[in-house]
């Protein structure tokens, strides 16, 4: 076995796989590939990859249906790769259990950053939630639900705390609006996106210096939010 983390690339275009290979192998990752849905499931079961790059445009199966199937066998982070026209399936894939997304064409630094975040959250799985998430000069204590800036404690409403907790648990990953609704208000509030907007607005005005250009609570139009811990 190679020492580097194993990444399963589910991509039917051989040339695209070569591009992934060139940029990822030089970073020390081990790559295995699957060119269709069936092979992907087989690879997930036999190789138990640390992270899965899943292209949504596969020949034999809708990538969307593949996400729950992979989830039956593996908890490895899934990063879906989609063309721009698949805006809707991106959201659905995230709601179905994918961890993040990349839109083609993407740059290599983008790809590497997403993979690093994915692998980091993988290593966090299993840890107790006592850890603290740090962004800028803020420290958010997940266990005690306490947000501290420098040495000053911030005053947050319970709803804001819940929102921030969900985002912090998936730090640097995109969390869909639906997921935030479900975590904070329960599944009965599905599709009440206005709730999330209202509280994210107040949360942003408490945390951000320039709420119009957020540094930490970044929104991704049509998808959801991302808590950025590193610039």
């Amino acid at each position: 076995m190679n020492a580097g983390p194993c990444i399963l690339v589910v991509e039917d275009d051989k040339k695209m796989f070569r591009v992934y290979a060139a940029s990822l192998e030089s970073e020390g990752y081990t790559l295995c590939d699957a060119s269709n849905g069936q092979a992907a499931i087989a690879e997930v079961r036999t190789r138990n990859p640390d992270l899965i790059l899943l292209d949504l445009g596969l020949p034999d199966i809708d990538g969307l249906q593949l996400v729950p199937q992979i989830r039956e066998h593996s908890t490895a982070p899934i990063i879906v790769v989609s063309a721009r026209e698949q805006e809707q399936s991106k959201v659905k894939a995230l709601d179905a259990g994918a961890n993040d997304y990349l839109t083609k064409p993407f740059s290599v630094p983008e790809l590497l950053a997403r993979i690093r975040v994915g692998l980091r959250s993988r290593s966090r799985v299993g840890e107790t939630l006592e850890s603290t998430v740090t962004f800028g000069d803020f420290q958010f204590d997940l266990a005690n639900r306490r947000l501290v800036r420098g040495d000053r404690q911030m005053h947050l409403s319970p709803t804001e705390v819940k929102l921030l907790t969900t985002l912090a648990r998936h730090a640097d990953e995109v969390v869909t609006t639906n997921a935030l609704l479900k975590e904070t208000w329960g599944s009965a509030y599905h599709s009440r996106s206005g709730y999330v907007r209202v509280y994210m607005h107040s949360l942003r005005h408490k945390i951000e210096d320039d709420p119009a250009r957020p540094k930490y609570l970044v929104n991704e139009s049509g998808l959801g939010y991302r808590l950025r811990t590193s610039s």
């Binding site: 306490r146 709730y195 607005h201 250009r213 139009s221 049509g222």
Partner: protein, 531 residues
Amino acid sequence: MIAKLTSYLAPENQSRFISRTGLRIVVGLGIMLLTLLFNLYVVGREDLANVTMVYLIAIAGVSIYLGYRPAIAATVMCALTFDYFFLAPYHSLRIATGRALLTFIGMFAIAVFTSLLHERLRLDARKARQNESRMEALYALAKALVDANSSEEVCLRSATQIEQAGAGNVCILVREKETFRRAYSARGQVALETEDLALANWVATRLEAAGMGTENATAATACYIPLLASRGCVGVLSLRPRTQSAEATAFTEVPSILLSMARQVALALDRALLAQEKQGALIEAETERIRSAVLSSVSHDLRAPLAVIGSASSTLVEHGLRLPDAARSEMAKIIFDEARRLNELLRSLLDVTRLQSGGLIVSREWESLEEIVGSALRHIEEHASGQILRAHIPSAIPLLQLDAVLIEQVILNLADNAFKHSRSEQAVEIDLAIHDREIIVYVIDHGHGVREDELASIFDKFYRSESTAGMGLGLGLTIARGIVEAHGGRMWASHTAGGGLTIQFSLPIGEAPPQLASTDLLEPIAAGGRG
């Protein structure tokens, strides 16, 4: 026949004092009786010459005012009474002398000739009147058709004129490309009836009139006359007598004036259809011209980055090892940039196609414009090199129901356009203002602006001002406006005070956004207070 068509086309009011023949005969005989009494008691039997004259005057009067038949009856009565009362032997119909016989025959003959002459004059006058009204109707039709520009107008006006001429209900079926597609009555376009269509098709192929009053399909309730022009049958005129009106009942022969009118209508319709076809061909040619111009400019724009990618990558493939590192990474950078540009071009082409084919899916959610603008700003700052963007966003903007991805695209397109038209030290500003029932977003640049006449055309598809030729496909603003309009808003351009262009768009504030009944906005608690 003439009588038939006039009673059909122009029901004539007889210019006689009394209309019924029987009554007229009685009146004629009464006049003769008065004349007889006048002759007996005023003129006297001795003055035979004057008696004759008075009789002739009376017959002439009856003939003129009461017509042919009363005049003949009056003549016979006149002859009998003349013989009985004025020719010896009196009170007997016998004629005694040759002179008396000559007088009797002479007077009878003069009376008959006078009546016949008057009848002839009357017929001539009536014919002249008919001709006149016929000419009037034809003239009115010609006048109505002279400035009818479209086939529709020709049909409507013809139907109106023919109906005014006293015919029944007129319907004109237009024949284009061998089939009947439209039909018009005097009141406007009507549906094509199956019964009409069947006969009209028959008429159009045989080029003969059919239906009531013709030799073909006589059982039909209307008559169908082909509208013949130089290139064949351009339509069919159908005429259905009004059943409710007494004077226009079924007719046994197609009035000739109707045939004349049909000829006029055919010519006008032919002319209008020809003009229409010519116009259609012109539009088609123009569309084709624009399409090929667009195609050539688009393919040029798409090919340019491809050519660069081709040669840069070929340089890497052929001489990669011999190139210094700096040159190699420069080639790679060029390929990367051009590929991205190509991707953007294709994306905007796809967007505009989707917008126009109605394939744009707007999935509305409650969204915060502050977030969307923020996301757009982040996107621009990640990609723009050293250009300044300022945003002034009031903090209390109501949530709107919109498609965040699409509206972000609008802002990106507008900002991109603004950067293209200004120098790098000229800041681009994004402003938001809340009006009564809408939010207005301004994207302001201080670049070189556009001419007054370009303010509207910059939103046209593939429009590029001279200064930006080659910098894009000219689709960004088209797409932006299309998206805003799909959201029920408007987009327009104006000059920035002091130079430059301001593009603004409105987004309607719909129903009130969801307000939370929760108290936790009002009572912020210290985080961790629960634990």
